[in-house]
């Protein structure tokens, strides 16, 4: 088996592969009052069996409401939720075949950690020995073996969170819901836990959805990520898709740390395509560098928003030049902020950069790295040489 091979997941999903399906789901709080809150709008979401999907967004975007609707703690205002072939939105949580790990730990105080986890297996037909084995296995995975016989009030927040996670994962369920599963954990622990958790989910083909506001977590664990904002699903795609072909400006600037640099620009087309950033540089490219569909899309727009990721800004070469505002070296990479069009343009370099603040530095942005967005709709027009999907 070679080391380098294409990403594993098959692109097509046949009907029988879909485990969870949300169709046209709305959630409206305070529906009959003067100011209803539309927390989730017309959400369509399909999750294949054994897939891990992350619901990613800032606070208030609707991701937690969505999770709670799937779990059954909130009613669905409109639409339907189907799991394993049956409609679950009218059912109470206990009858849905769903296991959930909560953000607020929610362990039962009078039971030890071990008993808490074992409690999830109470209604199964397993023998005491089998239960103990499963508990031990999951405890090893989340590294809580030393505290199995302690009570929830005597362990730290991070340990409580891991215990809650263990309790959700020890069961066999059709769907696993995790609400910010690692929010309280130290970075060190998160990195190793992520790897092991992903392995477990893959091995057991556990269909899972987890909610997070942390991109790294979403990136690390998920097969696909659903970016939500304002109750609306912005884009549901793999991490690579989101990064390289963001559907709109929101996804483009949300995904990625440091965030994508975006600028308003006027566009001139012809033999040369020139993006003139307002109060800023001109980026000129030969028209033929772009694919035909992309050319057509860009040519339609005399004004656009262009974006370039910090990692795609090449320093030390190129026709453009700017003043260095800050130069921060972080051990394994440097973050350089350049003064462009009155704001910061951040470039990330894998090596140390010599130029200090105040000095000038050349930079280059290749056409294959430019993302163009429609100035009015903020939808993506092109990514590099290719047109964005409509």
């Amino acid at each position: 088996m070679s080391l380098v091979e294409p990403l594993a997941r098959p692109a097509s999903k046949t009907m029988t592969d879909i485990a969870l399906s949300l169709a046209g789901v709305d959630k409206i709080y305070l529906a009959n009052t003067k100011r209803p809150i539309h927390a989730v709008r017309a959400l369509d979401l399909d999750v294949a069996r054994g897939e891990i999907v992350a619901l990613l967004g800032s606070s208030g975007c609707g991701k937690t409401s969505t999770l709670r609707m799937i779990a059954g703690f909130e009613s669905v205002s409109n639409g339907a939720i189907n799991l394993a072939g049956r409609r679950i939105d009218p059912l109470p949580p206990a009858r849905r075949g769903v296991a959930m790990a909560f953000e607020g730990y929610s362990l039962y105080p009078p039971l030890t950690v071990r008993d808490n986890i074992a409690f999830a297996l109470k209604n199964t037909r397993l023998s005491a020995r089998e239960v103990a084995a499963k508990v031990a296995e999951i405890a090893a995975l989340v590294e809580i073996e030393p505290i199995l016989d302690r009570y929830p009030t005597s362990i730290s927040g991070g340990q409580q969170q891991r215990a809650s996670l263990a309790r959700a994962l020890v069961r066999d369920a059709d769907l696993y819901l995790l609400d910010e599963p690692m929010g309280q954990l130290e970075p060190r622990l998160r990195a190793s836990l992520r790897g092991r958790l992903k392995n477990l989910i893959l091995e057991r083909k556990m269909t899972s959805i987890f909610v997070t506001h942390d991109q790294t977590e979403a990136n690390a664990l998920a097969d696909r990520v659903a970016v939500m904002e304002g109750g609306v699903l912005q884009q549901l795609a793999s991490q690579i898709e989101l990064k390289e072909r963001p559907a709109n400006l929101y996804v483009a600037t949300f995904i990625g740390e440091p965030p994508m640099n975006v600028f308003d620009a006027s566009v001139e087309t012809g033999e040369t395509f020139t993006f003139t950033v307002k109060d800023g540089p001109r980026l000129s490219y030969r028209a033929t560098e772009f694919g035909e569909a992309a050319r057509v899309g860009i040519a339609k727009r005399p004004n656009a928003v262009i974006g370039v990721r910090p990692h795609d800004v090449k320093l030390g070469v190129g026709d453009n030049e700017a003043r260095v505002v800050s130069n921060q070296w972080l051990g394994d990479q440097s973050h350089i902020a350049l003064d462009v069009a009155g704001k910061f343009m951040v470039a990330v370099s894998q090596t140390e950069v010599a130029e200090r603040p105040g000095e000038r530095l050349r930079y280059q942005i290749r056409s294959s790295r430019v993302h163009v967005f429609d100035a009015d709709t903020t939808r993506a027009v092109s990514h590099g040489h290719e047109a964005a999907e409509v």
Partner: protein, 359 residues
């Protein structure tokens, strides 16, 4: 003469030695980041300097004056708290102005200064609002404005970006250095984020278990950490640590004698821990001299790098970070890892101290 001088400070709460025999000096205009894992030590240190807590032992000199016994209002420092600590019953304007009203009577002078710092921090449009009407980012900037408005010689910032969302935090991380340098104050900046510490600090004081494990420039701390613990705290993913005993110029990893070069030859037989940063490990599919076998378990593409979780044959977890691998995708399976000996770090197992390579 140093602007801030802390001399053998100690403070404990009920037998818990939160700060133990700490010494630190900061020059005028310097930004010193106090970094460490979560715990109360860093905040207590700032409180001692501000004067709202008293040290059990040791003394504090600010601006050349011994202030160990002095009341907080006489110390002339500006402070910004992690939880903002804005006065809820006052407008943002009055909050900021409170740092001036104790000494300045002239309302016009106060207005000019408050408006100037508000403009600098881009909160001029919310000055008349009460704290509860402000967003987190605006609250944080108001707290900063309050700290800066009186042009204090000494600025104490207690993790001011902690409660602010990721985007804004990154933006502030870019803006703060120039802001702080322009103010000319000597700054003590507390943070739990090592990237923030490296980005902002002229020097970093690493506080572990009540004491400073190392006080040095960021590059020094990253490249030549004083102890194992310091090495662990800087870097994401954390540094790989492999115990063993050097033997002549090599080190055994999973049974393979990996060359360390002649610089550590004198440590033969000593119980050591080898530190390998994830970015210094390189993968190949073929065995080569100096490479040890690993099994790749999980591949995690992050923003600008790919993090791989691998196991050595003896079951040890190893993190490898590969930068900017765009067109190749790695997959789980067997591989070989090697590194440049010059990038390796060696620590004494018992004490955790780093062993200097012989030249």
């Amino acid at each position: 003469m140093a602007q801030i001088e802390l001399n053998r400070l100690s403070k404990s709460f009920k037998k818990n030695h939160v700060i133990n025999d700490l010494s630190l000096s900061a020059e005028e205009g310097e930004i010193v980041c106090i970094f460490g894992p979560s715990g109360v030590g860093k905040t207590v240190l700032l409180r001692l300097i501000a004067g709202v807590e008293e040290p059990d032992r040791g003394d504090i000199c600010l601006n050349g004056r011994d202030v160990t016994e002095a009341a907080p209002e006489t110390r002339g420092v500006g402070i910004a708290f992690q939880n903002f600590a804005l006065f809820p019953h006052m407008s943002a304007y009055d909050n900021i102005g409170s740092a001036l009203t104790a000494r300045e009577r002239d309302k016009n002078v106060i207005r000019i200064k408050v408006e100037r710092v508000a403009k600098l921090l881009k909160i001029s449009h919310v000055l008349q609002q009460a704290p509860r009407e402000l967003s987190n980012g605006q609250k944080q900037r108001t707290a900063l404005a309050r700290a800066l408005v009186a042009d204090p010689k000494i600025l104490l910032l207690d993790d001011p970006l902690r409660n602010v969302d990721a985007k804004l935090r990154y933006e502030m991380r870019l803006e703060l250095p120039s802001l702080l340098k322009a103010s000319g104050s000597t700054v003590l900046y507390v943070t739990q984020d090592y990237k923030e510490a490296m980005a902002l600090g002229d020097r970093i004081a690493v506080l572990i278990d009540g004491g400073f494990a190392q006080i040095a420039a960021p590059s020094e701390i990253y490249r030549r950490p004083a102890t194992l613990e310091v090495a662990r705290l800087f870097g994401d993913p954390t540094i790989n640590l492999i115990p063993g005993r050097p033997d002549g110029g090599s080190f055994a990893i999973a049974g393979v004698a990996v060359p360390l070069g002649p610089t550590y030859a004198s440590e033969t037989g000593r119980a050591c821990v080898l530190g390998l940063r994830p970015e210094s490990l390189k993968l190949s599919s073929q065995a080569k001299p100096g490479a040890f076998p690993v099994e790749i378990i999980a591949v995690t593409p992050l923003n600008e790098k790919v993090v791989l979780l691998a196991h050595t044959p003896d079951g040890r977890e190893i993190f490898i970070a590969e930068a900017g691998v765009e067109d190749e995708r790695r997959a789980p399976g067997p591989a070989f890892a090697h590194f440049d000996p010059a990038e390796a770090l060696l620590f004494d197992e018992a004490s955790g101290q780093r062993i200097e390579p012989a030249l």
